[in-house]
């Protein structure tokens, strides 16, 4: 099995289209899931997933088969998602279905009303894309900081710094709107 996996990776590195299709089918679900966490829009996540695999296809010669496909794919997918976020207007960054879930109060958070949550989501959408991606993965999705660092190609210390800056900017923005978190 390991030999088969290594063989597919080696063939992909050499530009074999069948190996690429095999890897695409093996990893499209995990890459899509990762991208969806960042872009938070199912339709956009599909487009970004295809874009990410296209980038992998173009970069096949630079792939190091000894390091495994998943971390490499996740890193490329993270940057494709980051590029997508940079092209969006802040008000477009949360899909309508996400706004509905934002506005709907849940049993556990009765104290925080829907308006505050909406304003928080809007303020978050105005943050710089790289801070937003880091905070989304590390704070909202609660992914391990090491995993976030590997996906973004930065150090764990840089992840911590970006999260700190994101939360500080968010707090400042909310304070200007009269909300004291």
């Amino acid at each position: 099995m390991q030999d088969d996996g290594s063989s597919v990776l080696d063939k992909f590195r050499q530009g074999d289209e069948d190996a690429f299709e095999t890897l695409f089918r093996m990893h499209q679900r995990s890459v899509y899931g990762w991208v969806l966490r960042i872009v938070r829009d199912p339709g956009a996540a599909e487009d970004v997933t295809v874009e990410a695999f296209w980038r992998m296809h173009r970069a096949h010669a630079r792939f190091d088969s000894t390091r495994g496909f998943e971390p490499w794919a996740r890193r490329i997918a993270t940057h494709a998602a980051l590029d997508w976020l940079r092209r969006q207007k802040p008000e477009d960054n949360i899909a309508p279905e996400m706004w509905n879930s934002v506005a709907a109060p849940t049993a556990g958070d009765a104290a925080v009303n829907a308006e505050i949550r909406n304003k928080t989501a809007q303020a978050f959408a105005r943050l710089p894309a790289k801070l937003r991606v880091t905070a989304t993965l590390a704070v909202v999705e609660e992914r391990p900081q090491k995993e976030v660092a590997e996906a973004l190609g930065i150090t764990v210390a840089a992840v911590k710094l970006r999260v700190f800056r994101a939360l500080r900017l968010l707090r400042k923005d909310l304070s200007e709107m009269g909300i004291k978190p």
């Binding site: 299709e21 695409f24 089918r25 499209q28 679900r29 899509y32 899931g33 969806l36 966490r37 938070r40 199912p42 996540a45 599909e46 997933t49 295809v50 874009e51 695999f53 296209w54 296809h57 949360i94 996400m98 879930s101 934002v102 849940t106 958070d109 925080v112 505050i116 949550r117 909406n118 928080t120 989501a121 978050f124 905070a135 989304t136 704070v139 909202v140 999705e141 609660e142 939360l167 968010l170 707090r171 978190p181």
Partner: protein, 70 residues
């Protein structure tokens, strides 16, 4: 602040998969790029063609010679 953010943006979680198989979209993307690459002519080919046309305009008598070498 982190808690407020988590309440404002519900986590997506792990159990998500695309609504459709994305491989056909991937194939379309690859085909589009192949056609685009084939259709696009490098700038130096345009420059060479422009140079030949300019040279032929300046010295029309060289046209048969150029055609002979083509």
């Amino acid at each position: 602040m982190a808690q407020l953010l988590r309440e404002s943006l519900p986590p997506i979680g792990d159990s998500n998969e695309p609504a459709r198989d994305l491989w056909p979209a991937m194939l379309r993307r690859m085909d589009d790029q192949t056609v685009h690459r084939a259709a696009s002519i490098p700038w130096f080919d345009w420059a060479l063609a422009g140079g030949l046309v300019a040279f032929a305009a300046i010295a029309p008598r060289t046209i048969p010679v150029i055609l002979y070498y083509l």
